[in-house]
Symmetry: C2
Subunit: 712 residues, 2 copies
């Protein structure tokens, strides 16, 4: 992982420029990135690099599942994985620290991480948060120790995102003081459940609670599933294995069906809703809607930790691609003897470095999310608004970082060519395992719509005194007015004519306040415009309102993405302020600028259409990005080294130094051959007997094969 190759010609150092002297303090930057829970992360990484926990590639599904089950039992015994649980049960009441550790497990094997998430983050956590003291005493120890591998049986084949509409019912029978748990049709089978395929001996099952003829909505029930010895399903229970998946095959996902299974009244996890022996329902939360959301709100920890895991995997991917890109050579450039290092190619920089910048942004944003989570779950920041902010932040960041991880893994894989396709180089394996992160624990597209709704709600509160027409007029004026009254710096940027000084205008784009204004303005404007368009929905029929909403679904999602970009940028900028080493701050500022301008470049058409950037300024965005790529290229290795991963985490053959050794050996071979004078003479350097024939005609050259010699 150590490497500092020479700069490419196009990025030649100007000794007077600040980049000539900027040096990253890698150790300090690593500390900054590890953040508040650095020590816990380091100890979790020690486990994640331990051969007992690392993924063995190529195992059969059965062997992989067995291995992961053994691993989580080992972790339960000594892996400090129970921090989030109460001290009285052996935990530490440490919510943020627990997730910080959990996220690091992804470097061992994503299957292990997710299996651990099913057991402790979902199954045991549901007992803790939805059950009461008796449940904790009776059920938590087995769930925590994995004596009882557990299933979190919420999703059904027919209902994933829309949990409120699940079909499974639990009808209370006062005669026996039991619930009748039943799956009424095929679409109501529980599905995609970790531990359901093989290992689970109990489940927390979500079902519509019906008593005295009233459906009180979705509640959770603790249900024994299998005989712990024979592993046969208990009477009335049936299931199917989900079988092979695109990844995460160390987890035994499966389906469950209940045929009038009797569940003791005491097994209703009754913190938010209870049924008396006579069938009387009671709840501390009167509103069924609010009760439902409260019961599901612990799910946010899944999103928080997936966000962290996705960021970690993006880092691993970039360690691999940047290290290889700094060692691998291909095609002679301006030299007769040395081929060009891949990362010196401008396109290679264009592919990898913006992803590196976005990974830094996602990393800082994740730290903010985890701190927010810790505040809420510790009770320090316990207001409804705090909880709402946490939910929105998680819903904004999880889609952004999980899609980013897939893009980064794929780009890294392609940047490593055929070597990237070999499992021994890790990228394809990680990509396969991370794939489902974009649709589970909240489908990304669904989550972004939630974020958009929150943005609309906030906007609605802000403009509650103004009527619909007023908002529309306000926004129309605002959108049409290039010199935005709320953004003086933007106006200053725009005041430069297209033919103005490029250096000066790049200087302004690099100004943090300019980037902030551009990113903020986009979110505000998009939200206001869509809010205006949706106003009529409040007075429309349900069908018309749904149609209107659907007609603007894409804009809503785009507004939420823009919001997530802004959140990441703000978190990055706040993180920058904590850097005291001048060289590190300089380089990291370029990284932040590259992130901000890449977001702006991606949405350049919006800025142009809405009069926020002139054509000349828009060109400057791209040319300044090119400058930043050149400046950052010599620091790329430091920037990935600062992620702090060792070879035991990266586990890719091409980053072991093997490629550098091969390149050195090959160059030494040719150097020795040249020195010996024994090298064969190239035919093309010989004088020709028939020069007329030897002259290649440009038109006659099959162009398509040129790639084989002349790609750069």
């Amino acid at each position: 992982m150590s490497s500092m190759p020479e700069r490419a010609d196009r990025t030649a150092v100007d000794p007077k420029a600040p980049d000539a002297t900027a040096v990253v303090d890698v150790a300090k930057l690593e500390d900054l990135l590890l953040g508040r829970w650095a020590d816990l992360r380091r100890s979790a990484r020690a486990l994640a690099g331990d051969p007992r926990f690392t993924k063995t590639e190529g195992l059969s599904m059965a062997d992989h599942r067995a291995r992961v089950l053994t691993q989580i039992k080992t972790l339960a015994a000594g892996g400090d994985v129970l921090r989030a649980f109460p001290a009285e049960f052996g935990g530490s009441d440490d919510h943020g620290g627990s997730l910080a550790r959990f996220e690091e497990l992804v470097a061992a094997d994503p299957s292990l991480q997710i299996k651990a998430g099913v057991q402790w983050g979902l199954f045991a956590s549901a007992i803790l948060h939805l059950g009461t003291a008796e449940h904790h005493r009776r059920l938590l120890p087995g769930a925590m120790s994995v004596a009882v591998p557990g299933v979190f049986a919420m999703t059904e084949t027919g209902h994933g995102s829309d949990v409120a509409s699940i079909g499974t019912t639990a009808v209370y029978d006062p005669a026996t003081q039991e619930f009748d748990l039943h799956t009424p049709f095929r679409a109501a089978w529980k599905d995609y459940l970790g531990n359901a395929g093989e290992h689970g001996t109990a489940a927390v099952v979500f079902a519509q609670l019906v008593t005295r003829g009233v459906n009180h909505g979705v509640h959770a029930f603790y249900v024994p599933l299998r005989d712990g010895e024979t592993m046969a399903f208990l009477p009335g229970i049936d299931g199917e294995d989900d079988g092979l998946k695109g990844g995460l095959n160390g987890i035994d996902n499966g389906r469950l069906r209940f045929d009038h299974v009797r569940v003791a009244r005491a097994n209703l996890l009754n913190r938010y809703g209870d049924v008396a022996a006579d069938g009387t329902y009671s709840s501390p939360i009167a509103s069924p809607g609010r009760r439902f959301f409260t019961m599901l709100s612990t799910l946010v920890q899944g999103r928080v930790s997936l966000n962290g895991a996705a960021v970690n995997v993006s880092k691993l991917a970039l360690v691999i691609a940047v290290t290889y890109g700094n060692e691998r050579r291909q095609f002679a450039g301006g030299s007769d003897t040395d081929e060009v290092v891949l990362l010196d190619y401008a396109e290679h920089q264009r592919r990898l470095l913006p992803l590196l910048a976005a990974t830094y942004a996602a990393s800082f944003a994740h730290e903010r999310l985890l701190e927010t989570f810790d505040g809420v779950f510790s009770g320090r920041d316990g207001s409804d608004e705090d909880r709402e902010d946490l939910e929105t932040l998680a819903a904004a960041l999880k889609p952004t970082s999980t899609w980013h991880a897939l893009t980064t893994l794929q780009t890294a894989r392609e940047a490593c060519g055929g070597a990237g396709f070999l499992t021994e180089n890790r990228l394809v394996s990680l990509r396969a395992d991370l794939d489902v992160f974009v649709t589970f624990e909240g489908d990304n597209t669904v989550l972004l719509q939630l974020v958009a709704k929150r943005l609309l709600a906030d906007f609605g509160r802000e403009f509650s005194g103004i009527d619909a027409g007023g908002v529309a007029r306000y926004m129309a004026n605002r959108a049409a007015d290039a010199a935005l009254h709320r953004t003086p710096l933007l106006r200053a940027v725009q005041a430069l004519s297209d033919g103005g000084n490029v250096r000066r205008s790049a200087g302004q784009l690099r100004d943090a306040q300019t980037q902030r204004e551009l990113l903020t303005d986009r979110v505000d404007t998009m939200v206001a415009l869509v809010a205006g368009a949706l106003r009529p929905a409040t007075k429309a029929s349900r069908a018309d309102a749904a149609a209107l909403f659907n007609a603007h679904q894409h804009e809503l999602i785009e507004a939420a993405r823009a919001h997530a970009d802004l959140v990441q940028w703000e978190a990055f900028t706040a993180g920058l302020a904590r850097v005291d080493d001048a060289g590190t701050r300089q380089v990291l500022t370029w990284v932040r600028d590259l992130f901000g301008l890449s977001v702006i470049e991606r949405n350049l058409a919006w800025y142009l259409i809405n009069g926020r950037l002139s054509a000349g300024r828009a060109r400057t965005v791209t040319s300044y990005i090119d400058r930043l790529l050149g400046r950052l290229r010599p620091h790329a290795q430091d920037l990935v080294d600062a992620f702090g991963y060792g070879p035991e985490h990266v586990r890719a053959t091409i980053t072991t130094g093997a490629e550098r050794e091969r390149q050195d050996e090959a160059r030494a071979h040719y150097r020795a051959e040249r020195a010996s004078g024994d090298a064969p003479v190239p035919e093309k350097s010989l004088p020709r007997a028939r020069p007329a024939l030897a002259q290649p005609s440009p038109g006659a050259r099959p162009v398509g094969t040129e790639n084989l010699t002349a790609a750069s």
Copy 2:
């Protein structure tokens, strides 16, 4: 595969609009898409759906390899896979038809297709095209029958795209009339070779031919590898298995090393370069460069067939996602009783339908490529320029269609949610296998640079009489001038003011000539600008020229992409002209428009910055795309049905009608419950004892969990 769901509210049919009556003639459209080699494609599809050849998911690598080896032997015996070979050896001299059939095999198992490609498209084909009559008689029969599973040993660990720089040497020894084949260092090991891991008993090895102290460049040698009985490597040969890969694990890729292996002089495949007994070198092609390109030019058939396979896989992915999207329901929309079909969501349409349009474009473009290929390889169109056009066309389309296939597979997988992640639904399996298509047989990024060079060369010829300054001035004027003198229709579009009639301006965007002008102008302008920027390279030092080229690498690649977009659009438009059924033509015209405008929308910033579109017109692009999505939505199922695949090719559980049955059963259950009067009453519909408590406060609702009920 048959379905015609009701339209979404937002796309309600206007009975006077043409879309109300447009009906696709699915059978005719299928014929059109199958193209010139429809009969051969149909018979190949019969094999591709035959259980003997379809992929068995979840096999171990060893079992998968063994199965695929058996499969290609079965194909050799009766699969009509030898059409491209000469009649005298049992073939049909049918190049286009052979590839058309070959492409269809991807639906059986991509490993089978690629293993077949290694055996016949590379190994046997090299004997045919690089060898002479004696080689054909002696070596072709075994290669064709798979009696000799063969390796195409070109790529080395250290050199993939840059074949001219491979390190393996073959030094002629007149004393024994043998070549000394040698791997001088680790980076010169042959690598990533199909059949090298286990099954190959011979190889065509590419090495630097050295005789009498002169290196005549890369030549091909026929080299026995393993004992056909024991499968042990022959003396001096060693190898390694590449092991598990991200996909295509039915192929035994591996590495080979030669330690002074003696190769008989007769085993030099000597069509383009020969060595006499005394060591005298001769060649019918005097220029070493041209000779090299000629020897490699048969590789183009790999790119052509990968292009076709990628298009076929994109079609399969869309059959799955569109069929499921037409059956799967989630979230209540405007109705109390029926949930909304996924494809009625605007975002779902936005995700899938532009990919459907691009798949149609890629399909028509592939037919054109295959016809070009057939013309060249049959000798009908045998000029150097024809061959050059073929190479450029393949280099433009292969990157476009292979990246498109990965995007389509992933989008389809996400659009199917958790079900998409199950291997039984095929998408993850296809994606894993197709991944390497973007970097093998010519790395996509490298190929696009070739295309750019050809575009520059053509531009250079066109402007050969004008000096550098003249070109720069010409382009500067052209780029700055919104009313382009060469594009009167564009001027007409621009002449509309931003506040103009939206319907009329959408009408112009739908005009084929307008789309053509916009797409063509972008290619021409990008090429001219980069050509101007690169002019100084002709007078610069080699290092400076390389640096200048590198500084513009990204623009070159973007220009090539733009060219590929245009080629696809033109092929689509030409294909449209062959449709005589009015309804089909109408719908297909919308598909073409959606493709064209999606390309323009993707590059909207370019059109705005360069003054080709006003802000108002740019908005119209997006709003017209929205209209097209609504128009096409009711035809989506017909458009995927016309791909002509049966369930034996699709092999995804969710497209068997299972989802529709589940939805029907669930809706019938609730209907019956409502009709019986026994349905439990929802708590929220009851009068409240404590209305104050029951009133949810908007601020107190945890927003993050809303996704679970209110995603649309």
